[in-house]
Structure formats: C-alpha cells, structure tokens
C-alpha cells in the first residue's frame, strides 16, 4: 500500500522519465552498436565488441565526403538564413508598415507545410527552369526552409527587448550604427544564436527536401538513407554517437559560460 501511494504521488515523474527513456533509447542503441563488429552488410544484430569503427571513422567510401558536404551546406545555409531572417525579424518587430499581416503569413506558411509538398514544388520549379540539381539547389532549398525558423526565434527575443535601452544609448549621443552594434545586437544575440543553431541542425539533418532536390549529390542523411538499402557500416553509428556527445558538450559549455556571466553581473 505504501508503495502504491508512493507510486501515485510520483506518477508524473515516473511517466515523464519513461518518456525520456523512450526518447533516448535509440541514442543508446546507436552508441552500443558503434562498438559492434557485424557480420554481413547490416549492423542490426549484436555480434562482437570492437573499436575498429572508432579508430577508422572514415574507413567507408564516400562517408566522410558526404559528411563534409553536409557540414558545408549547413554552414552556408545557416549564414544565409540567419542574416536574411534577422533582417526580417527586426523589420517585423520594430516597424509598422503596410502588408505586415501578409508578410507574417508568408513567413508562417513554410513551417506549416508538409516537407514533401515543399520538396516536390521546388523540384518542379528547378525542372521547369532546367536548373542543374546539386550543391546550389540544395543550398537554396535549405536557406528557404530555415528562414522561417530563424525569423521566429529572433522575433521572440527582439520582442522582449526594452526599446528604452536604445533610446538611452541615443540620449548618450550614440549614433545609429553605434547603438545597433553596442546595444541592440548584444541584446538580440541569444535569439540570433538560437535561430542559427536551429538552422544548422535543421539543414544538417534534412533528408526529405534534399532527397528531391539533390540530383546525384549525396549529403550525409542521403548517405545514411542509401546505406539502409545497401548495407549500414558501423561508422554511421560512430558519427551519430559523436554528434550526440558534441551537441551535449556544446550546450553544457554554453550553460556554464552563461552561468558565469550571470554571476559576474550579480
């Protein structure tokens, strides 16, 4: 009975932790199977412990090439989407102008559209224009779908900014450029960083839109997709595990720096 009561009072916590387990289970499997030495072409069954894949992550043809291509595309897409998105976000929050509602819906629509619809329609455009599918068509597509997410992230931050800070800067004879660089940009920076991070993650991980518009160019997700048909090398699990660890370390480092800064202020 006591156990039952204890369970009941902790029901939310238990259910929540179970969900967390469901979310992390594939990551655990990916990590464990990165130490597998599979027989045959597929890495779905546990055979034998081995660190071969970790010592030779580029040992599979085309894997690291596709990885570096994905990183390049994600880098450029992040840059493009962040610059364009930040400009739009500032215009939407800071200025009243005609057609503001129309602009808002044009920003919202790509987020509310199934990816496959956007992917297919973009392909019809490229086919009609006779464009060569490859690096540039992928980049164009990625900037397009990351843009809305950057706008949303930056808008949230700029909206919560106190405009009096900028007025104060101008009262202290700061020019518009100085005000922007020394006051506005630092305050908006966390929003811009969040938008950029989101854009990077979305672009790096995108499969559906890339699948339609890549032609014969192979990004990392497309390499993984192909390997699901041809045979999955263990190295894929190594890359997946490494990405997870790097992401966690990145965020933890960001939190530590943030905490230290807050403490300095206080």
């Amino acid at each position: 009975m006591a156990l039952l009561r204890w369970l009941k009072s902790r029901l939310v916590v238990i259910a929540g932790l179970l969900t967390l387990g469901y979310l992390l289970l594939p990551n655990i499997v990916v990590t464990v199977f990165s130490f597998n030495n599979p027989k045959g072409r597929f890495n779905y069954e546990w055979q034998q412990f081995s660190t071969d894949a970790w010592t030779d992550p580029c040992g599979v043809a085309d894997l690291c090439g596709s990885l570096s291509l994905s990183l390049q595309i994600a880098g450029w897409a992040t840059l493009g989407a962040t610059v364009l998105g930040t400009m739009i976000a500032f215009a939407l929050v800071r200025y009243r102008f005609r057609a503001r509602g129309a602009v808002n819906s044009l920003i919202f629509l790509p987020m509310a559209m199934p990816e496959v619809v956007m992917a297919a329609s973009l392909l019809t455009l490229f086919l009609n224009l006779g464009a060569q599918l490859g690096f540039w068509t992928i980049l164009i597509a990625h900037i397009m779908f990351c843009l809305s997410f950057v706008v949303t992230a930056v808008k949230a931050r700029v909206m919560s900014m106190d405009p009096r800070l900028e007025q104060a800067a101008q009262d202290l004879y700061a020019g518009p450029v100085q005000t922007f660089v020394r006051v506005t940009l630092p305050i908006a920076a966390p929003g811009i960083a969040a938008g950029a991070l989101l854009a990077f993650a979305l672009s790096f991980d995108d499969f559906i839109i890339t699948n339609f518009n890549a032609g014969s160019t192979v990004t990392f997700p497309m390499f993984v997709w192909g390997s699901a048909q041809r045979g999955t090398p263990v190295q894929i699990n190594v890359i997946g595990t490494a990405m997870f660890i790097v992401a966690v370390l990145f965020v933890l480092a960001g939190m530590v720096i943030g905490n230290r800064r807050n403490r300095q202020k206080a």
């Binding site: 939310v12 929540g16 499997v29 102008f97 199934p114 518009p176 990392f220 999955t232 997946g240």
Partner: protein
C-alpha cells in the same frame, strides 16, 4: 516622377545614399524585408504556382508536358491512392495523440518538478536532434527486430496476440507493421510536442496551483481546471507541429514499414523521383496540402485558440 518615399512597397527604389544618416526612412523596413521575402517568394510561393500548373498538364516525359487543364488527374489520384491518404491521416493522428499522452508528463516534469535537473533534462530532449534522425530511425530496426527483447516481451505478455487481432501487427513481427511505423512517427516528432508544451506550462504562475489547492481542489482537479486549460496554446501548437510533418513523412513508413504501410508521402516520392509522373505527383501533393489546411483550420476554430497560435 516618383520620389523615393512614394515608391510602392518592395519596389526596387534607388539606393538611399543621399539620405541624411540620422533620419530613419520610412523605407527601412522594406529594405530589411526585401532579400528574405524575395527568397521566399521565388523559392516557396513561385514553386507552388509551378506545381499547380504541373498538376493540370498532360503528356509524357519524352514528348514533354503541356497545360491542358486536365483536372481528371486529381480524380484519378484520389481514386487510386485514397487508402494511402487515409493511412497517412490515421497514422499521423495516432502518433499525435500518443505524442500528447507521452509528452505531457515529461513537459510537466520539466516545468514543475525537475528543479535543478531542469536544464539537463531539456538538453536530453533536444540533443538527439543532433544525431541524424535517419540514424535514430534505423536504430528502431534493431530495437523492434524479430526475436529481439521488445518483441519477446510483448509476446510473453500476449500483447502481440491482441494487436495482431486488431491488425496493427502481424503474427510475431512488429517490424514492417503499422505499429512500427506509428512508433517511429511518435518517436520522431515527440520533441516537437514537448517543447511547445513546456514553454506554455512554464509560463503558468505557480501561485495559481496554490490558490486552487487553498480552495480545496484535489491535484487532479487542479490539473483539469487550471493547468490544462492554461496550457492549451502549447497543446494546439504541439499537436500541429506533430501532425503536419507526420502526415507528409515517408521515411518512417519506408524504413520501418512494408508495402502495406505506405503513406501518401511514399507515393509522392515514388511518382516524382522514380516513375517521373509529374502531374500525378503534383496533384497528390496539392490534395495533401489542401487536406491538411482544411484539418488545421477546422482544428484551430474548434479549439478556439486562433489568437494564440
């Protein structure tokens, strides 16, 4: 002669070089918007127009396609592929409900019960995003493998007998059945449910809970009358963020399912990239888009949160 200030919005006006730097022009917002909006118009809106025209074309790949206003493509698409449409709605709907049921406790836990663990749990929710979702989906193949621990446990509990009778699994298998596809969809879109739920729960003033308790509301009543209604914006945006991408997804159905679990996304992908029947593919994606828009509009009306989304 139009002056700079009279130019219509988005028109390519001469560069405002001669403007004094201190005066913020009325055109500034348009200059800020121009490049990004141009990108969206050319690579998002214009493609939709091209797709619309493609969907009413006839012809063949060899002879080329011509716009013949052949609307019958739409009828044929519905007639041929209505099972896949229904399946997409059913799978995406089930996954969305499961996401809500699974995600709510975790979002609640992070918002109210996690204490100093809050940031760590949030990181653990977001971090899987960085392991390519295809790799994680492939991991489900290992987890749900025939004769694996999950199938074994479900079998010994006789769950698979019930689910097979319901038609969501087949015999001793979970892989290549609807259950596997829904499991993958639920897994893939769960973070999109948790994060909006968490944001809206976090905004709730804790004193409201105390007030409800002071008025002799039991914990469950507090949840039903205070917490849940206040979290509605999160519920609505979470369900939309899960349902819309899930209904267009073809990766889960392809990797975890079989030919019997094909969703409309799979059909669009095959028509477009393998069979190269562009009109049918375009018509299919327009029907999908229209269907989702209709469902979403109805849903937003019903939930009465038009101003909250």
């Amino acid at each position: 002669m139009t002056t700079v200030t009279d130019a219509p919005p988005l028109a390519p006006a001469p560069a405002p070089k001669e403007r004094p730097p201190r005066r913020r022009g009325r055109l500034t917002p348009y200059w800020l918007l121009l490049p990004g909006l141009l990108w969206l118009v050319v690579f998002f809106a214009l493609p939709m127009v091209y797709q619309a025209s493609t969907s009413v074309q006839t012809g063949s790949l060899e002879e080329g396609y011509k716009v013949t206003w052949h609307f019958a493509t739409y009828w044929d698409a519905v007639a041929d592929y209505w099972p896949q449409f229904l399946r997409s709605i059913a799978y995406a709907g089930t996954a969305t409900i499961l996401c809500l049921l699974l995600g709510y406790p975790l979002a609640y836990l992070i918002a109210f019960r996690a204490g100093r663990w809050r940031n760590l749990i949030l990181i653990l929710v977001i971090a899987p995003f960085f392991t390519s979702f295809l790799i994680r989906t492939l991991a489900w193949k290992t987890i749900l493998a025939d004769g694996g621990p999950v199938v074994g446990a479900l079998n010994s509990l006789h769950v698979l007998d019930v689910t097979s009778w319901l038609g969501v699994t087949a015999g001793d298998r979970v892989l290549a059945t609807p259950l596997a596809v829904v499991c993958g969809l639920t897994y893939n879109f769960l973070p999109f449910m948790i994060l909006p739920l968490y944001t809206s729960l976090e905004r709730i003033d804790g004193r409201l809970h105390e007030a409800a308790g002071d008025l002799y509301a039991k914990p469950f009543t507090t949840f039903r009358k205070v917490t849940f209604p206040l979290s509605m914006p999160g519920v609505v945006s979470g369900t939309l963020l899960t349902f819309i991408p899930a209904s267009g997804d073809y990766v889960n159905a392809d990797l975890l399912g079989s030919t019997d679990t094909r969703m409309v996304g799979n059909v669009i992908q095959t028509q477009f990239l393998r069979i190269l029947d562009y009109p049918t593919a375009a018509a299919l994606s327009f029907i999908l888009m229209a269907g989702i828009l209709a469902i979403v509009t109805l849903y937003i009306r019903k939930s009465g949160t038009e101003d909250l989304v």
